[in-house]
Symmetry: C2
Subunit: 213 residues, 2 copies
Amino acid sequence: MARASDKLIEQLKQEIFSGLLKPGDQLEEADLAVRFNVSRTPIREAIRSLVDNGLLETRSRKGAIVRVLNAKELNDLFEVAAELEGMACRLASERLTQSNKKIIKASLDLCQAAAQVEDIPGYAEANLAFHGAIHEASENDWLTDQLSQIQARINVYRLMPYEIVGRLEKSLVEHQKISEAIFAKDGLSANSLMRDHMMLQGARLPSLLRALV
Amino acid sequence: MARASDKLIEQLKQEIFSGLLKPGDQLEEADLAVRFNVSRTPIREAIRSLVDNGLLETRSRKGAIVRVLNAKELNDLFEVAAELEGMACRLASERLTQSNKKIIKASLDLCQAAAQVEDIPGYAEANLAFHGAIHEASENDWLTDQLSQIQARINVYRLMPYEIVGRLEKSLVEHQKISEAIFAKDGLSANSLMRDHMMLQGARLPSLLRALV
DNA sequence: ATTAATTTATATGGATACATATATCAACTA
DNA sequence: TAGTTGATATATGTATCCATATAAATTAAT
């Protein structure tokens, strides 16, 4: 039997990522205990975990709130994300196996299919698959781990209604170029192409923040 | 008043980093509760935190043990550390302020002083100061945070008696070159010099692991 | 009427009591 | 003698209880 707190962690993460819990929202242990029909103990453990994870923050005796990232913090986060994504591309170039190549290609096809019919949620999913495929191809588990954590953090700020006028097409082209560089084992190009790709996302941050209310 | 679990976390970290608790050692909640004269509750919170931090690991109903990193995991960790340290150098080159420059210089002097008299613990401390100064100069708080966490992890494996025959001198020269590149605002060189510097450390891993018993 | 102080309520931090799963050891059978 | 099964013990997981700090509200004083 899985621990109750583990389920709670997943559930709360979902609620944060889905936007149900918005940055700044307060979490009260007693309320959560009633909602999830468990005692306060596993609730407290889950909250602690999420605090350590950086998704919540606490002030002494003031309970936990969903952490709010300001513009600089988000920018810093994106910079690190861009660097590590670029690193993954470099390593993938150096260590590419046939099977990983296939997986990257498949995810790229998904991106293309979604882009053609302008299926935005579909593209978002395919996009994650594409990046995930590259992470795996890096063969560095620590890196893969870090990136999935960072991605989770970024996703909190990504799901709000955002206009992607023509951005799907551009993103797809960038993906294609990145893949080509990896397949050509050109780690240097793959690295910088991915970094640029990520930084373009990051450049949209200010408008995201404004949308945040 | 600080929370009891916070103090426990620091204490347990110290014991892990100091080698008192070795990888594989089991931590029993009741024992710790007696040792620290608190109830099991803060003990459990501390353990959870350390598990999330990656310093401990748990299996269902089997309690917590000090996490053991195998050769590949350590290698993966070093690769990421090297990349992020390099990134810090690049950013420091781009954003260097006069005050940060002074701090880097000061830490470099500490390294030199320690190296001249072959003061190994002194050099280790100066080394941390040097890297820390560069982290700060990157002006990226997220990066600084990640690096300090990674450094803590690496330190667990670093404190065992390791021979540094002539390594102090070499390390110092590398530090000097890195600083020069940063001061010349040559981010590209600073990045790769630091990456190489870190990877040299990483290359000593196999012997470290053998020393681990 | 406004502000400050005291009291009261409530939510977090910590201790303890209780439930349950796993491991160890012993006994019995093949 | 070796292996399997069952009972007991122990450590983890959960619930609840108690203490205390903080916040809110009410009252009193200027």
